[in-house]
């Protein structure tokens, strides 16, 4: 049996010593495609950020099946967290992913440029490499950030609401790109999303975050009509 990509053992996460999530226990297997779902404010992003080491672990432990120093996780943040004052082209943003493996004083060479261009190709945006990042649509920016995550050569990809605020066409393009990466490259994928209908079609397992804790199960087990209606309303439950 393979070592899990990530295992949370009785983990508590929070800020200023106050837990937001307590006694969280689950494993994510290598190559699994998993969605973090739950009501607004339940702690989905906190859990994702905790798995990335961005939120303090107050109790328990998080084990990684990979050496994070040699294979850092690919991280796609909410794009609103990035400041548009930075003058950056699409290629410059993607190149930042290659910094994961570049030591200080090592220049960003031709290999890194070539690899960043390949990552852009994988999300279908190679022709716009020279365009200013901030001139792109929300969906395009999100795909650029996925390319940046790929440029770190990760074995696990964690995405924070990659389809939030983008139009339906762009949502399909983003989810297609992520699904292909999972199927064709065996990349472990964990994503936070509110797009229940689309998530249901692509994920095999769900981590349901609610009431200060999280449980893992299959989409069929956890995404019951009652639970969805309770949290997202009757329309979502019907869809």
């Amino acid at each position: 049996m393979d070592v899990p990509a990530v295992a949370l053992r009785d983990v508590s996460l929070g800020y200023d010593g106050r837990p937001v999530l307590s006694h969280v226990e689950f494993t994510i297997e290598q190559g699994e495609f998993c969605a973090l779902l739950g009501p607004n404010g339940a702690g989905k992003t906190t859990l994702l950020r905790g798995m990335l080491g961005l939120v303090p672990v107050l109790g328990g432990r998080i084990e990684y099946g990979i050496d994070r120093r040699t294979s850092p996780p690919g991280y796609v943040p909410q794009r609103e967290s990035l400041d548009p004052i930075f003058p950056l082209t699409v290629l410059e943003v993607v190149l930042m992913g290659t910094f994961a493996r570049l030591r200080p004083l090592r220049p960003v060479g031709r290999r890194a440029h070539r690899f960043a261009a390949e990552c852009l190709e994988q999300v279908g945006l190679a022709p716009i490499a020279g365009r200013p990042f901030w001139s792109l649509s929300g969906g395009q920016k999100e795909r650029v950030l996925i390319a940046r995550a790929l440029a770190a050569e990760p074995r696990i990809l964690l995405l924070d609401e990659p389809t939030a605020g983008v139009d339906p066409g762009a949502t399909v393009a983003i989810m297609d790109a992520i699904t292909r990466l999972n199927r064709e490259r065996g990349l472990t994928v964990v994503l936070v999303s509110h797009q229940l209908r689309i998530v249901r079609q692509v994920v095999r397992s769900v981590i349901w975050v609610d009431g200060g804790s999280a449980v893992k199960g299959t989409a069929e087990e956890l995404l019951t009509a009652e639970r969805i209606a309770d949290v997202f309303g009757a329309v979502a439950a019907g869809g």
Binding site: L52, P77, D83, I85, M96, F99, L105, P132
Partner: protein, 293 residues
């Protein structure tokens, strides 16, 4: 034209001052790039004032601990530099620590810092009975009095700042643009922040002592904002900002020499004219790329 020929002559009386002026004009915008991108512009007002308070404090401390010091000699400038650097770096560290924990607004913290630093500067000066015109000149930043030794120190330190900024630009960009990603990549974020702040502190300290708080703040911000109007890549942003700073400082020096104007305000005024011209041009071309900091 004669004034320009004079300035370019190797025997120009104010040659050291001209070189010092252009050095400050080129390096301050390179540091200013991070001021603008990290949205720390107002810190640029408070830090030069803190630097001035540090200079005044170092003299008071020397007088209390060691005894009376002579104004105008090298040890006085070294003492001033030490005080300036200590206060500037201390200020940056305290303000950034509060930034992560404090509940009040950034403007409130910076405003408080400025008010306290200005009051302390005057109080420290009043406590030193030898706080004569020489010291006031030091606080004002009397660039025309730049000596060979002072120029060598300025060139060495600012040269070092430029080398560090370019050598580690990918690290500084990563921790400035996406701090979380830097943490995920296992980068030592506090170390890179600290090194960047050290570069900022050294530039401001020397800038204030050489050219004064007005020129230092002006060149941290104005050429940088001008460059942001016309660039869409990080490297060109830095290079254009430095070039604009160099042009404004040289042109300002020329204007001040030719028209017998005060040097610092002439340089900052020319930098502002460049901003207006470039900004006007960008608006005429159909929109500016500058986002309000």
């Amino acid at each position: 034209m004669t004034a320009l020929t004079d300035m370019l002559s190797p025997t120009f009386l104010l040659r050291d001052a001209l070189i010092a002026s252009v050095l400050v004009g080129v390096v301050c915008p390179l540091v200013g790039v991070y001021f603008v991108l990290r949205r720390m512009i107002f810190l640029g007002v408070a830090l030069p004032q803190l630097s001035a308070a540090g200079i005044a404090f170092s003299f008071v401390a020397y007088r209390l601990v060691v005894g009376v010091h002579e104004h105008g000699n090298l040890s006085e400038r070294s003492l001033a530099l030490l005080g300036s650097l200590a206060f500037t770096l201390g200020g940056i560290l305290v303000l950034t620590a509060f930034e992560r924990r404090g509940r009040e607004t950034v403007e409130a913290r910076i405003g408080m810092t400025y008010a306290i630093a200005a009051a302390l500067t005057i109080l420290f000066l009043a406590l030193d009975p030898h706080g004569d015109a020489e010291m006031v000149n030091l606080l004002k930043g009397d660039i025309l009095a730049t000596t060979q030794t002072g120029l060598k120190l300025l060139g060495g330190v600012l040269g070092g700042v430029v080398v560090v900024l370019f050598a580690f630009r990918k690290e500084f960009l990563l921790v400035s643009f996406d701090r979380d990603l830097a943490v995920v990549f296992g980068k030592r974020v506090a170390l890179w922040d600290g090194l960047l702040y050290l570069m900022i502190g050294a530039t401001i300290s020397l800038g204030v002592m050489t050219a004064g708080p007005l020129v230092t703040f002006g060149f941290l911000v104005v050429p940088t904002l001008t460059a942001r109007l016309v660039t869409s890549r990080m490297l060109t942003f830095s290079l254009v900002a430095a070039a604009l700073g160099g042009v404004a400082s040289f042109g300002g020096f020329y204007g001040a020499y030719r028209l017998d104007l005060p040097l610092g305000p002439a340089e900052v005024a020319l930098a502002s004219v460049l901003f207006a011209v470039v900004g006007g041009g960008a608006m005429l071309r159909g929109g500016t790329r500058l986002r309000a900091p």
